[in-house]
């Protein structure tokens, strides 16, 4: 039982990261109808920037602050320079460009910082508290930071003029232009914000999974799974989906262990987590393409 609680707690912690990644994906998707396959590698690259700054002697939080700013500008630049000219391109072209970006960031990170695995410091002090047996302090920190981030984004979109303009631009670009919203820039801002959110996710998860160019590949897949579970067009749903996938993933491993111990039959374990994520993705895409909380959109012909 204790183990179960432990698994759920750490599931919530990784779920927080998936929620952030899912949110970043949803942000770009609602604005452009594209799934950004390079999201994970962009986050990984940002995390390296943060690591480098820490190596140069910056304290963690200022380093992260700078990284967020850098990632934001990088996201804006990518949208303006690379994706803008492809506004009317086919889905294949866009997907190919995303894969191109993925490859570039992946190899740049490897080229600059090498492929060896690096330790990434946790900014949270190790403290003992009532529930320490169940959850580590970094995991608590991950959850808290992610939730703060989510609330900040929620407040931004809900209560600021710019947030409203971005939502309007995503919902109905033509109408948005007709009320004076610079839709092009809203898309670029969306990319910037998504990249910034990704940077936070990367810096939070890096102490757990360690820093290396491949660190975000599976996290991105979980993020996708989370976004799809919740509904790719629904930010709140995506966040919920992210947490759900995190918990589910750990439960799978837990019950896998349990069956192995009790019945001596190995079915699933840590090694099959990704496969489980894949099955979740495909099942949801097949049975409920709009996700659990998504609205079905009618496609015009």
């Amino acid at each position: 039982m204790e183990q179960l609680i432990q698994q759920i707690a750490s599931g919530l912690a990784s779920g927080a990261i998936y929620a952030l990644v899912a949110l970043a994906l949803v942000m770009i998707f609602t604005a452009t109808d594209h799934l950004n396959f390079a999201q994970g590698e962009m986050a990984m690259f940002s995390t390296y920037i943060c690591w480098q700054l820490i190596q140069w002697g910056f304290p963690f939080w200022p380093a992260l602050g700078f990284t967020i700013l850098f990632s934001f500008l990088l996201g804006v630049a990518i949208e303006r320079v690379i994706l803008r000219p492809l506004h009317n391109a086919s889905v294949l072209s866009i997907v190919v460009v995303f894969i191109g970006l993925l490859a570039i960031f992946h190899s740049l990170a490897g080229g600059i910082w090498s492929h060896t695995i690096k330790n990434f410091p946790s900014p949270f002090p190790t403290v003992t508290f009532a529930g320490s047996g169940y959850i580590g302090s970094h995991q608590i920190g991950m959850i808290v930071v992610s939730l703060l981030m989510l609330f900040a984004l929620f407040a931004f979109f809900r209560f600021t003029p710019l947030g409203l303009a971005m939502r309007a631009a995503a919902q109905n670009p033509v109408s948005a232009r007709l009320v004076g919203v610079k839709v092009d820039w809203m898309l670029a801002l969306g990319w910037g914000l998504a990249a910034a959110v990704g940077a936070v996710a990367g810096a939070m998860v890096a102490p757990v999974v360690y820093l290396e160019p491949n660190m975000m590949a599976s996290i991105l897949l979980y993020g996708f799974a989370g976004a799809l579970v919740g509904g790719i067009s629904n930010p709140a749903g995506a966040v919920f989906g992210g947490f759900m996938v995190g918990v589910l993933e750990n439960l799978v491993a837990y019950f896998g262990n349990l069956t192995e111990k009790t019945f001596g039959i190995y079915i699933v374990g840590n090694g099959e987590k990704l496969t489980v994520a894949l099955i979740i993705v495909i099942t949801i895409l097949t049975l409920k393409p709009a996700g659990l909380f998504g609205r079905t959109t009618v496609k015009r012909v």
């Binding site: 594209h34 799934l35 889905v91 894969i99 190899s107 490897g110 897949l221 090694g271 990704l274």
Partner: protein
């Protein structure tokens, strides 16, 4: 996208015959190559291996072309089928002592079935969603290959070592030369079948689905069955390529089939031109060329422009992809066709 069936004007008929003659001549020469060279060492066994790999990748790229270029479905996960084909061949040969020729149909059937079954749910998906599902497949496959219950077959992370077959009938050829010949023959067969498929009624239906899914549906084409079948056929092609790869490379392991492989196949398809059969050949050459020389090339480039960091092959991949989408969305084959059309057009045309 290029049209595959077009009415050929009479003047072009001669050109087409010429192309055919040239093609046949080239193939005969290519097939004669190992015999001409023999054991002289004029062309090394290693070079034959490289050529074989190029052809193998061309088959794989062709498989993706059929799906993406001619049927409009995007896959980021064809490395998975390559892996299934490779493992099928490796396991049958190593564990069950099956003749290597027989592993090809086995890999083909297995991949077709898996592809079809994967395509069934996936066919409800379009564009980005299908890309996502296949992206997941590509990431998950290396893990699946390490699955505990499959270990007796797959040998887990260690992978499987095989031995290349010798040339039969006492032919004066080395193993690499013989396999080059085998690969070439298989490839010619696969391309020929692809061409016939595309020129057939079902082939035209495939393209109709790509261009106007709904309209094709209203014209009485069973789009979902077609899409799943094309997915299966595409997987079949890639599976055969994988099986051949296992045999000539003499080794399979989960890490040979990581996400990078899926990307390599996609890059090959895009570089060659997704809706073109010759494009698949260009793509195959490109994939193998990059695999072999990109390292050296990027190192040279790094030195030449005094970059403070070490460039890596993937950077070139990425840049190539993005630049091609801008300047030559039809790939090299598409670009050449456009150039040819412009050259032949009378000067006043417009």
């Amino acid at each position: 996208m290029t049209a595959i069936t077009s009415t050929v004007p009479a003047a072009a008929d001669g050109a087409r015959n010429l192309t055919r003659t040239l093609l046949v001549g080239f193939l005969v020469l290519a097939a004669a190559l190992p015999f001409l060279v023999g054991k002289s060492g004029f062309i090394s066994n290693f070079t034959f291996l490289q050529l074989s790999l190029m052809i193998v990748y061309a088959i794989a790229v062709l498989g993706l072309n059929l799906l993406t270029g001619f049927n409009g479905q995007i896959s980021l996960g064809h490395g998975a089928f390559f892996a299934v084909g490779a493992y099928t061949a490796a396991i049958l040969i190593e564990q069950f002592g099956v003749n290597y020729w027989l592993t090809l149909p086995a890999a083909a059937i297995l991949c077709f079935v898996i592809g079809y079954l994967f395509g069934l749910p996936a066919l409800r998906l379009e564009g980005h969603y299908l890309a996502l599902a296949t992206f997941g497949l590509a990431i998950a496959v290396p893990q699946m290959l390490k699955y505990k219950h499959l270990e007796p077959l797959t040998n887990g992370v260690m992978g499987i070592n095989l031995l290349k077959p010798d040339a039969p009938f006492g032919l004066p050829l080395s193993g690499d030369q013989w396999m080059y010949l085998v690969v070439l023959i298989v490839a010619v067969g696969m391309f020929w079948m692809a061409r016939n498929l595309l020129n057939s009624r079902p082939g035209r239906a495939m393209v109709a689905i790509r261009d106007h899914t709904l309209a094709a549906g209203t014209m009485g084409i069973d789009t979902s069955r077609y899409k799943a079948t094309v997915f299966g056929i595409s997987a079949l092609y890639v599976g055969i390529a994988g099986a051949l790869h296992a045999i000539i490379f003499e080794f399979v392991s989960p890490d040979s089939f990581r996400f990078e492989l899926s990307i390599a196949i996609l890059v090959g398809a895009v570089v060659g031109g997704v809706a073109s059969l010759p494009g698949a050949v260009i793509g195959g050459v490109f994939v193998q060329f990059i695999e072999k020389y990109a390292d050296a090339m990027t190192k040279k480039l790094t030195q030449a422009i005094h970059l403070p960091l070490e460039l890596q092959p993937w950077t070139l991949y990425g840049i190539t992809l993005i630049v091609l989408i801008y300047v030559m969305p039809g790939g090299i084959a598409g670009g050449l066709a456009a150039l040819w059309a412009r050259l032949r057009r009378p000067p006043q045309g417009g």
